[in-house]
Amino acid sequence: MGNGVARFWREIPQRYNVVGNKCGSCGRVFFPPRESCPDCRRKSIGKMDEYKLSGKGKVITYTIIHVAPENFEEQVPYPIAIIELEEGPRITAQIVDCPVEDVKIGLRVEKTFRRIQEEGYTGAIYYGYKFKKRK
Protein backbone atom coordinates (compact mmCIF):
# COMPACT_ATOMS: atom_id res chain seq x y z
CA MET A 1 0.00 0.00 0.00
CA GLY A 2 3.01 2.28 0.33
CA ASN A 3 2.75 5.70 1.92
CA GLY A 4 -0.37 6.93 3.66
CA VAL A 5 -2.31 9.65 1.82
CA ALA A 6 -2.77 12.02 4.77
CA ARG A 7 0.70 13.46 4.44
CA PHE A 8 0.04 14.58 0.88
CA TRP A 9 -3.58 15.55 1.41
CA ARG A 10 -2.57 17.94 4.17
CA GLU A 11 -0.48 19.95 1.75
CA ILE A 12 -3.04 20.35 -1.04
CA PRO A 13 -3.47 24.12 -0.40
CA GLN A 14 0.31 24.51 -0.69
CA ARG A 15 0.72 22.40 -3.80
CA TYR A 16 -2.41 23.54 -5.62
CA ASN A 17 -2.47 27.21 -4.67
CA VAL A 18 0.91 28.16 -3.17
CA VAL A 19 -0.77 29.04 0.12
CA GLY A 20 1.83 30.13 2.65
CA ASN A 21 1.54 32.47 5.59
CA LYS A 22 2.49 35.93 6.69
CA CYS A 23 3.90 37.04 10.03
CA GLY A 24 1.36 39.23 11.76
CA SER A 25 4.20 40.99 13.51
CA CYS A 26 6.62 41.95 10.73
CA GLY A 27 4.70 41.14 7.54
CA ARG A 28 7.27 38.72 6.15
CA VAL A 29 5.74 36.11 3.81
CA PHE A 30 6.64 32.43 4.06
CA PHE A 31 6.18 29.47 1.81
CA PRO A 32 5.61 26.79 2.88
CA PRO A 33 3.76 28.12 5.90
CA ARG A 34 5.58 28.12 9.22
CA GLU A 35 4.45 27.85 12.81
CA SER A 36 6.38 30.99 13.72
CA CYS A 37 8.49 33.71 12.15
CA PRO A 38 12.26 33.13 12.58
CA ASP A 39 12.79 36.89 12.91
CA CYS A 40 10.02 37.67 15.38
CA ARG A 41 10.02 34.30 17.10
CA ARG A 42 7.72 34.26 20.13
CA LYS A 43 6.06 37.53 19.13
CA SER A 44 4.71 35.77 16.07
CA ILE A 45 3.18 32.73 17.73
CA GLY A 46 -0.53 32.66 17.02
CA LYS A 47 -0.09 35.55 14.59
CA MET A 48 0.84 33.67 11.43
CA ASP A 49 -1.94 34.43 8.94
CA GLU A 50 -2.72 32.32 5.89
CA TYR A 51 -1.50 34.06 2.72
CA LYS A 52 -1.91 33.02 -0.89
CA LEU A 53 1.13 33.78 -3.03
CA SER A 54 0.78 34.81 -6.67
CA GLY A 55 2.82 31.95 -8.05
CA LYS A 56 4.98 34.33 -10.10
CA GLY A 57 8.75 34.54 -9.78
CA LYS A 58 12.13 34.15 -11.43
CA VAL A 59 14.74 31.43 -11.70
CA ILE A 60 17.69 31.85 -9.31
CA THR A 61 19.50 28.66 -10.26
CA TYR A 62 18.69 25.41 -12.01
CA THR A 63 19.89 22.00 -13.09
CA ILE A 64 18.80 19.54 -15.76
CA ILE A 65 18.07 16.17 -14.21
CA HIS A 66 19.22 13.24 -16.33
CA VAL A 67 19.23 10.51 -13.68
CA ALA A 68 15.86 10.66 -12.01
CA PRO A 69 14.02 8.93 -9.20
CA GLU A 70 11.58 6.21 -10.26
CA ASN A 71 8.50 8.42 -10.37
CA PHE A 72 10.17 10.90 -12.71
CA GLU A 73 12.08 8.65 -15.09
CA GLU A 74 9.66 9.20 -17.96
CA GLN A 75 10.28 12.94 -17.95
CA VAL A 76 14.06 12.86 -18.23
CA PRO A 77 15.75 15.19 -19.02
CA TYR A 78 13.85 17.82 -17.06
CA PRO A 79 14.83 21.13 -15.49
CA ILE A 80 14.57 21.67 -11.76
CA ALA A 81 15.02 25.22 -10.54
CA ILE A 82 15.07 27.29 -7.41
CA ILE A 83 12.54 30.03 -8.06
CA GLU A 84 12.35 33.23 -6.11
CA LEU A 85 8.68 34.14 -5.82
CA GLU A 86 7.57 37.77 -6.06
CA GLU A 87 6.73 37.89 -2.36
CA GLY A 88 10.21 36.76 -1.34
CA PRO A 89 10.20 33.02 -0.53
CA ARG A 90 12.18 30.65 -2.71
CA ILE A 91 10.96 27.21 -3.76
CA THR A 92 12.22 24.23 -5.70
CA ALA A 93 10.17 23.12 -8.70
CA GLN A 94 10.26 21.68 -12.19
CA ILE A 95 10.19 23.96 -15.24
CA VAL A 96 7.89 22.81 -18.07
CA ASP A 97 6.62 23.90 -21.47
CA CYS A 98 9.92 25.11 -22.85
CA PRO A 99 13.02 23.53 -24.35
CA VAL A 100 15.66 22.67 -21.79
CA GLU A 101 18.04 25.21 -23.38
CA ASP A 102 15.68 28.08 -22.58
CA VAL A 103 16.07 27.65 -18.83
CA LYS A 104 18.41 30.38 -17.60
CA ILE A 105 19.11 32.24 -14.39
CA GLY A 106 16.72 35.18 -14.40
CA LEU A 107 13.97 33.47 -16.43
CA ARG A 108 10.56 34.87 -15.44
CA VAL A 109 8.13 32.10 -14.58
CA GLU A 110 4.65 31.47 -13.24
CA LYS A 111 2.96 28.46 -11.72
CA THR A 112 0.96 25.90 -13.66
CA PHE A 113 -1.05 22.92 -12.42
CA ARG A 114 0.39 19.52 -13.23
CA ARG A 115 0.65 15.94 -12.08
CA ILE A 116 3.68 15.70 -9.81
CA GLN A 117 3.77 11.99 -9.06
CA GLU A 118 1.63 9.03 -8.18
CA GLU A 119 1.83 5.95 -6.03
CA GLY A 120 2.20 3.54 -8.93
CA TYR A 121 -0.70 2.50 -11.14
CA THR A 122 -3.11 1.82 -8.30
CA GLY A 123 -2.25 4.57 -5.87
CA ALA A 124 -3.31 8.18 -5.45
CA ILE A 125 -2.23 10.88 -7.90
CA TYR A 126 -0.54 13.94 -6.43
CA TYR A 127 -1.08 17.20 -8.28
CA GLY A 128 0.80 20.40 -7.64
CA TYR A 129 2.86 23.25 -9.01
CA LYS A 130 5.34 23.31 -11.82
CA PHE A 131 6.49 26.50 -13.50
CA LYS A 132 6.44 27.79 -17.04
CA LYS A 133 7.79 30.88 -18.78
CA ARG A 134 5.85 34.08 -18.45
CA LYS A 135 6.23 37.34 -20.36
Partner: protein
Protein backbone atom coordinates in the same frame (compact mmCIF):
# COMPACT_ATOMS: atom_id res chain seq x y z
CA UNK B 1 -37.21 37.14 -17.62
CA UNK B 2 -33.72 37.19 -16.26
CA UNK B 3 -31.03 36.07 -18.61
CA UNK B 4 -29.01 33.07 -17.66
CA UNK B 5 -25.93 32.16 -19.53
CA UNK B 6 -22.17 32.20 -19.82
CA UNK B 7 -20.45 34.64 -17.50
CA UNK B 8 -16.89 33.71 -18.42
CA UNK B 9 -14.95 31.02 -20.21
CA UNK B 10 -11.46 29.62 -20.62
CA UNK B 11 -9.65 26.90 -22.52
CA UNK B 12 -6.50 24.83 -22.24
CA UNK B 13 -4.74 22.85 -24.95
CA UNK B 14 -1.47 20.93 -24.31
CA UNK B 15 1.47 22.17 -26.39
CA UNK B 16 2.74 18.97 -27.99
CA UNK B 17 1.63 18.25 -31.56
CA UNK B 18 1.92 15.10 -33.62
CA UNK B 19 1.43 15.39 -37.35
CA UNK B 20 -0.98 13.00 -39.08
CA UNK B 21 1.73 12.39 -41.68
CA UNK B 22 4.16 11.21 -39.02
CA UNK B 23 1.61 8.74 -37.65
CA UNK B 24 0.88 7.48 -41.16
CA UNK B 25 4.54 6.93 -42.01
CA UNK B 26 4.97 4.66 -38.96
CA UNK B 27 2.11 2.46 -40.14
CA UNK B 28 3.11 2.54 -43.80
CA UNK B 29 0.17 4.65 -44.94
CA UNK B 30 -0.10 7.65 -47.22
CA UNK B 31 -0.02 10.52 -44.77
CA UNK B 32 -1.09 13.27 -47.12
CA UNK B 33 -4.07 11.28 -48.34
CA UNK B 34 -5.13 10.54 -44.79
CA UNK B 35 -4.77 14.17 -43.76
CA UNK B 36 -6.86 15.28 -46.69
CA UNK B 37 -9.44 12.57 -46.15
CA UNK B 38 -9.87 13.31 -42.46
CA UNK B 39 -9.36 17.03 -42.62
CA UNK B 40 -6.84 16.76 -39.77
CA UNK B 41 -3.21 17.93 -40.10
CA UNK B 42 -2.00 17.45 -36.56
CA UNK B 43 -3.31 16.68 -33.10
CA UNK B 44 -2.51 17.83 -29.59
CA UNK B 45 -0.80 15.40 -27.24
CA UNK B 46 -0.61 15.85 -23.48
CA UNK B 47 2.77 15.90 -21.75
CA UNK B 48 3.34 13.11 -19.29
CA UNK B 49 2.35 15.38 -16.40
CA UNK B 50 -0.88 16.62 -17.97
CA UNK B 51 -4.27 14.96 -17.73
CA UNK B 52 -7.95 15.83 -17.68
CA UNK B 53 -7.61 17.28 -14.19
CA UNK B 54 -4.70 19.58 -15.05
CA UNK B 55 -6.38 20.71 -18.29
CA UNK B 56 -9.62 21.37 -16.40
CA UNK B 57 -7.84 23.38 -13.71
CA UNK B 58 -6.00 25.52 -16.24
CA UNK B 59 -9.21 26.13 -18.25
CA UNK B 60 -11.14 27.01 -15.09
CA UNK B 61 -8.37 29.34 -13.91
CA UNK B 62 -8.41 31.02 -17.32
CA UNK B 63 -12.15 31.58 -17.00
CA UNK B 64 -11.70 33.08 -13.52
CA UNK B 65 -8.84 35.30 -14.71
CA UNK B 66 -11.20 36.97 -17.18
CA UNK B 67 -13.89 37.95 -14.69
CA UNK B 68 -14.11 39.09 -11.09
CA UNK B 69 -16.15 36.27 -9.60
CA UNK B 70 -15.24 35.04 -6.15
CA UNK B 71 -14.66 31.30 -6.58
CA UNK B 72 -16.50 30.74 -3.31
CA UNK B 73 -19.68 31.80 -5.16
CA UNK B 74 -19.36 28.87 -7.53
CA UNK B 75 -21.95 26.43 -6.20
CA UNK B 76 -21.47 23.52 -8.57
CA UNK B 77 -18.77 21.97 -10.73
CA UNK B 78 -19.55 19.34 -13.33
CA UNK B 79 -16.79 17.97 -15.49
CA UNK B 80 -17.45 15.80 -18.50
CA UNK B 81 -14.71 13.55 -19.85
CA UNK B 82 -13.91 10.12 -21.22
CA UNK B 83 -10.54 10.21 -19.52
CA UNK B 84 -11.09 11.19 -15.92
CA UNK B 85 -7.83 10.34 -14.11
CA UNK B 86 -9.68 8.12 -11.67
CA UNK B 87 -12.55 5.75 -12.40
CA UNK B 88 -13.66 6.44 -8.85
CA UNK B 89 -12.76 9.80 -7.30
CA UNK B 90 -14.08 12.82 -9.13
CA UNK B 91 -12.02 15.25 -11.18
CA UNK B 92 -14.47 17.90 -9.99
CA UNK B 93 -13.16 17.91 -6.43
CA UNK B 94 -9.57 18.38 -7.60
CA UNK B 95 -10.65 21.37 -9.68
CA UNK B 96 -12.84 22.67 -6.86
CA UNK B 97 -9.87 22.68 -4.47
CA UNK B 98 -7.51 24.14 -7.06
CA UNK B 99 -9.77 27.14 -7.74
CA UNK B 100 -10.82 27.70 -4.13
CA UNK B 101 -14.49 26.83 -4.56
CA UNK B 102 -14.69 24.24 -1.77
CA UNK B 103 -16.34 23.19 0.51
CA UNK B 104 -19.88 24.54 -0.20
CA UNK B 105 -20.05 22.98 -3.60
CA UNK B 106 -22.03 20.37 -5.55
CA UNK B 107 -19.83 18.13 -7.63
CA UNK B 108 -20.15 15.08 -9.80
CA UNK B 109 -18.23 13.85 -12.82
CA UNK B 110 -20.03 13.23 -16.10
CA UNK B 111 -19.52 10.77 -18.94
CA UNK B 112 -21.36 10.83 -22.26
CA UNK B 113 -18.56 10.39 -24.75
CA UNK B 114 -17.84 13.69 -26.47
CA UNK B 115 -20.88 15.55 -25.19
CA UNK B 116 -20.29 15.17 -21.48
CA UNK B 117 -19.11 18.78 -21.23
CA UNK B 118 -22.23 20.25 -22.83
CA UNK B 119 -24.35 18.05 -20.54
CA UNK B 120 -22.53 19.76 -17.69
CA UNK B 121 -23.48 23.13 -19.19
CA UNK B 122 -27.14 22.08 -19.23
CA UNK B 123 -26.99 20.99 -15.59
CA UNK B 124 -25.37 24.23 -14.45
CA UNK B 125 -27.89 26.26 -16.42
CA UNK B 126 -30.74 24.42 -14.71
CA UNK B 127 -29.27 24.89 -11.22
CA UNK B 128 -28.84 28.61 -11.82
CA UNK B 129 -32.36 28.86 -13.21
CA UNK B 130 -33.70 27.03 -10.14
CA UNK B 131 -31.81 29.56 -8.01
CA UNK B 132 -29.97 26.76 -6.27
CA UNK B 133 -26.56 28.23 -7.04
CA UNK B 134 -25.10 31.63 -7.99
CA UNK B 135 -22.63 30.26 -10.48
CA UNK B 136 -21.95 26.84 -11.96
CA UNK B 137 -18.74 25.71 -13.61
CA UNK B 138 -19.12 23.35 -16.57
CA UNK B 139 -16.01 21.78 -18.05
CA UNK B 140 -15.44 19.44 -20.96
CA UNK B 141 -11.90 18.05 -21.14
CA UNK B 142 -10.14 14.94 -22.35
CA UNK B 143 -6.78 13.27 -22.95
CA UNK B 144 -8.27 10.70 -25.24
CA UNK B 145 -6.32 7.67 -26.40
CA UNK B 146 -6.60 5.49 -29.44
CA UNK B 147 -5.27 2.04 -30.12
CA UNK B 148 -1.98 2.05 -32.04
CA UNK B 149 -2.61 1.75 -35.77
CA UNK B 150 -6.33 2.41 -35.45
CA UNK B 151 -8.01 5.12 -37.53
CA UNK B 152 -8.78 7.03 -34.34
CA UNK B 153 -5.08 7.50 -33.71
CA UNK B 154 -5.06 10.42 -36.13
CA UNK B 155 -7.72 12.32 -34.28
CA UNK B 156 -7.81 11.38 -30.59
CA UNK B 157 -6.25 14.37 -28.86
CA UNK B 158 -6.20 16.41 -25.66
CA UNK B 159 -7.75 19.67 -24.53
CA UNK B 160 -10.63 21.25 -22.66
CA UNK B 161 -12.74 24.32 -22.02
CA UNK B 162 -14.53 25.70 -18.98
CA UNK B 163 -17.68 27.81 -18.84
CA UNK B 164 -18.96 29.69 -15.81
CA UNK B 165 -22.75 29.84 -15.95
CA UNK B 166 -24.69 32.44 -13.97
CA UNK B 167 -27.28 35.18 -14.18
CA UNK B 168 -25.21 38.28 -13.49
CA UNK B 169 -22.93 39.97 -16.00
CA UNK B 170 -23.84 37.33 -18.56
CA UNK B 171 -21.71 37.68 -21.70
CA UNK B 172 -23.77 35.21 -23.74
CA UNK B 173 -27.29 34.16 -22.81
CA UNK B 174 -28.31 30.56 -23.14
CA UNK B 175 -31.77 31.20 -24.48
CA UNK B 176 -32.70 27.58 -24.97
CA UNK B 177 -31.16 24.13 -24.70
CA UNK B 178 -32.49 20.70 -25.51
CA UNK B 179 -31.18 17.24 -26.35
CA UNK B 180 -31.79 14.37 -28.71
CA UNK B 181 -30.88 10.96 -27.30
CA UNK B 182 -31.13 7.29 -28.35
CA UNK B 183 -29.38 4.06 -27.52
CA UNK B 184 -26.98 3.82 -30.46
CA UNK B 185 -23.77 1.79 -30.06
CA UNK B 186 -21.53 3.62 -32.53
CA UNK B 187 -18.45 4.05 -30.32
CA UNK B 188 -17.76 2.77 -26.82
CA UNK B 189 -15.10 1.71 -24.36
CA UNK B 190 -15.70 -1.17 -21.97
CA UNK B 191 -14.80 -0.59 -18.33
CA UNK B 192 -11.19 -1.58 -17.59
CA UNK B 193 -10.26 -1.55 -21.28
CA UNK B 194 -7.72 0.98 -22.37
CA UNK B 195 -8.83 1.79 -25.90
CA UNK B 196 -12.27 2.42 -27.38
CA UNK B 197 -13.94 0.42 -30.10
CA UNK B 198 -16.17 1.76 -32.83
CA UNK B 199 -18.55 0.68 -35.56
CA UNK B 200 -16.54 1.99 -38.50
CA UNK B 201 -18.89 3.60 -41.03
CA UNK B 202 -21.77 3.10 -38.60
CA UNK B 203 -20.45 6.13 -36.73
CA UNK B 204 -21.65 8.34 -39.62
CA UNK B 205 -25.24 8.42 -40.77
CA UNK B 206 -27.01 6.49 -37.96
CA UNK B 207 -24.93 8.12 -35.27
CA UNK B 208 -23.29 11.52 -35.72
CA UNK B 209 -25.50 12.82 -38.49
CA UNK B 210 -28.82 11.48 -37.20
CA UNK B 211 -28.38 12.94 -33.73
CA UNK B 212 -26.92 16.28 -34.72
CA UNK B 213 -29.55 16.90 -37.38
CA UNK B 214 -32.29 15.55 -35.10
CA UNK B 215 -31.16 17.68 -32.18
CA UNK B 216 -30.43 20.82 -34.19
CA UNK B 217 -33.72 20.67 -36.04
CA UNK B 218 -35.69 20.19 -32.83
CA UNK B 219 -33.90 23.08 -31.17
CA UNK B 220 -34.47 25.49 -34.03
CA UNK B 221 -38.12 24.45 -34.13
CA UNK B 222 -38.57 25.18 -30.42
CA UNK B 223 -36.75 28.49 -30.68
CA UNK B 224 -38.40 29.42 -33.97
CA UNK B 225 -35.10 30.10 -35.74
CA UNK B 226 -33.43 29.34 -39.05
CA UNK B 227 -29.73 28.73 -39.83
CA UNK B 228 -29.41 32.19 -41.43
CA UNK B 229 -30.30 33.78 -38.08
CA UNK B 230 -26.99 32.75 -36.58
CA UNK B 231 -23.64 34.48 -36.85
CA UNK B 232 -21.76 31.39 -35.76
CA UNK B 233 -22.44 27.68 -35.55
CA UNK B 234 -20.39 25.10 -33.67
CA UNK B 235 -20.80 21.39 -34.21
CA UNK B 236 -18.97 18.48 -32.65
CA UNK B 237 -15.83 17.80 -34.64
CA UNK B 238 -14.52 14.21 -34.69
CA UNK B 239 -12.69 15.06 -37.93
CA UNK B 240 -12.57 17.97 -40.35
CA UNK B 241 -15.23 16.58 -42.69
CA UNK B 242 -18.24 15.62 -40.57
CA UNK B 243 -18.95 19.10 -39.15
CA UNK B 244 -18.65 20.66 -42.61
CA UNK B 245 -21.07 18.09 -44.02
CA UNK B 246 -23.62 18.35 -41.23
CA UNK B 247 -23.53 22.12 -41.41
CA UNK B 248 -24.33 21.92 -45.13
CA UNK B 249 -27.10 19.38 -44.50
CA UNK B 250 -28.69 21.71 -41.97
CA UNK B 251 -28.31 24.80 -44.09
CA UNK B 252 -25.37 26.47 -42.34
CA UNK B 253 -22.50 27.90 -44.38
CA UNK B 254 -18.82 27.16 -44.02
CA UNK B 255 -18.25 30.78 -42.98
CA UNK B 256 -20.56 30.29 -40.01
CA UNK B 257 -18.67 27.25 -38.72
CA UNK B 258 -15.11 28.32 -39.59
CA UNK B 259 -14.33 30.16 -36.36
CA UNK B 260 -15.42 27.22 -34.22
CA UNK B 261 -13.68 24.55 -36.27
CA UNK B 262 -10.47 23.61 -34.46
CA UNK B 263 -10.11 19.94 -35.29
CA UNK B 264 -7.75 20.36 -38.28
CA UNK B 265 -5.12 21.87 -35.96
CA UNK B 266 -5.59 20.04 -32.69
CA UNK B 267 -7.55 16.90 -33.52
CA UNK B 268 -10.67 15.74 -31.72
CA UNK B 269 -10.47 16.75 -28.08
CA UNK B 270 -13.56 14.62 -27.35
CA UNK B 271 -15.43 16.20 -24.43
CA UNK B 272 -13.49 19.37 -25.11
CA UNK B 273 -14.31 19.55 -28.82
CA UNK B 274 -17.56 21.52 -29.07
CA UNK B 275 -16.62 23.43 -25.95
CA UNK B 276 -13.28 24.60 -27.39
CA UNK B 277 -15.13 25.47 -30.61
CA UNK B 278 -17.53 27.64 -28.59
CA UNK B 279 -14.62 29.24 -26.72
CA UNK B 280 -12.99 30.10 -30.03
CA UNK B 281 -16.19 31.83 -31.13
CA UNK B 282 -16.45 33.78 -27.88
CA UNK B 283 -12.84 34.95 -28.40
CA UNK B 284 -14.04 37.09 -31.33
CA UNK B 285 -17.80 37.42 -30.81
CA UNK B 286 -19.44 40.83 -30.65
CA UNK B 287 -22.59 41.93 -28.83
CA UNK B 288 -25.68 40.77 -30.67
CA UNK B 289 -24.02 37.79 -32.37
CA UNK B 290 -26.12 34.64 -32.25
CA UNK B 291 -24.42 31.30 -31.77
CA UNK B 292 -25.84 27.86 -32.49
CA UNK B 293 -24.08 24.95 -30.80
CA UNK B 294 -24.84 21.27 -31.19
CA UNK B 295 -22.54 18.74 -29.62
CA UNK B 296 -22.53 15.01 -30.19
CA UNK B 297 -21.63 12.15 -27.88
CA UNK B 298 -21.51 8.54 -28.97
CA UNK B 299 -23.95 6.18 -27.34
CA UNK B 300 -25.66 8.50 -28.50
CA UNK B 301 -26.93 12.02 -28.11
CA UNK B 302 -26.72 15.68 -29.03
CA UNK B 303 -27.12 18.79 -26.89
CA UNK B 304 -28.21 21.93 -28.72
CA UNK B 305 -27.93 25.52 -27.52
CA UNK B 306 -29.29 28.80 -28.82
CA UNK B 307 -26.97 31.52 -27.55
CA UNK B 308 -26.94 35.30 -27.90
CA UNK B 309 -23.87 37.40 -27.14
CA UNK B 310 -24.59 40.43 -24.94
CA UNK B 311 -23.00 43.86 -24.53
CA UNK B 312 -21.38 42.51 -21.39
CA UNK B 313 -18.83 40.60 -23.49
CA UNK B 314 -16.88 43.81 -24.00
CA UNK B 315 -16.50 44.09 -20.23
CA UNK B 316 -14.97 40.65 -19.98
CA UNK B 317 -11.17 40.80 -19.76
CA UNK B 318 -10.70 38.34 -22.58
CA UNK B 319 -7.02 39.22 -22.87
CA UNK B 320 -6.35 38.02 -19.32
CA UNK B 321 -6.10 34.46 -20.61
CA UNK B 322 -4.84 32.94 -23.86
CA UNK B 323 -7.37 32.74 -26.70
CA UNK B 324 -7.98 29.45 -28.44
CA UNK B 325 -5.91 30.78 -31.34
CA UNK B 326 -3.06 31.51 -28.89
CA UNK B 327 -3.30 27.98 -27.50
CA UNK B 328 -3.43 26.39 -30.95
CA UNK B 329 -0.40 28.43 -32.00
CA UNK B 330 1.69 27.67 -28.89
CA UNK B 331 3.05 24.33 -29.94
CA UNK B 332 6.00 21.97 -30.03
CA UNK B 333 6.18 19.04 -32.45
CA UNK B 334 7.01 15.58 -31.13
CA UNK B 335 7.73 12.34 -32.97
CA UNK B 336 5.81 9.07 -32.80
CA UNK B 337 8.33 7.53 -30.39
CA UNK B 338 7.86 10.32 -27.87
CA UNK B 339 4.10 10.07 -28.38
CA UNK B 340 4.24 6.35 -27.60
CA UNK B 341 6.20 6.94 -24.44
CA UNK B 342 3.80 9.59 -23.28
CA UNK B 343 0.58 7.83 -24.03
CA UNK B 344 1.82 4.69 -22.33
CA UNK B 345 1.90 2.64 -25.45
CA UNK B 346 5.27 1.42 -24.30
CA UNK B 347 4.87 -0.88 -21.38
CA UNK B 348 6.17 0.62 -18.14
CA UNK B 349 6.63 -1.63 -15.14
Amino acid sequence: MESIGIVSYGANIPRFRLKAEDIASVWGKDGQAISRGLGIFEKSVPAIDQDTATISVEAARAALARCTIDPQDIGAIYIGSESHPYAVKPTGTIVGEAIGATPELMVADYEFACKAGTAAMQTCTAFVKAKMICYGLAIGADTSQAAPGDALEYSASAGGAAFIIGKEKVIATINYTCSYTTDTPDFWRRAERKYPSHGGRFTGAPAYFKHITGGATRCMQCVGSKPEDYTYAVFHQPNGKFPVNVAKKLGFSYDQIKQGLMVPYIGNTYSGASMIGLASVLDVAQPGDRIFLTSYGSGAGSDSFDITVTDEINNLARKNAPSVADLVGDKQYIDYGTYSKITDLLYWE
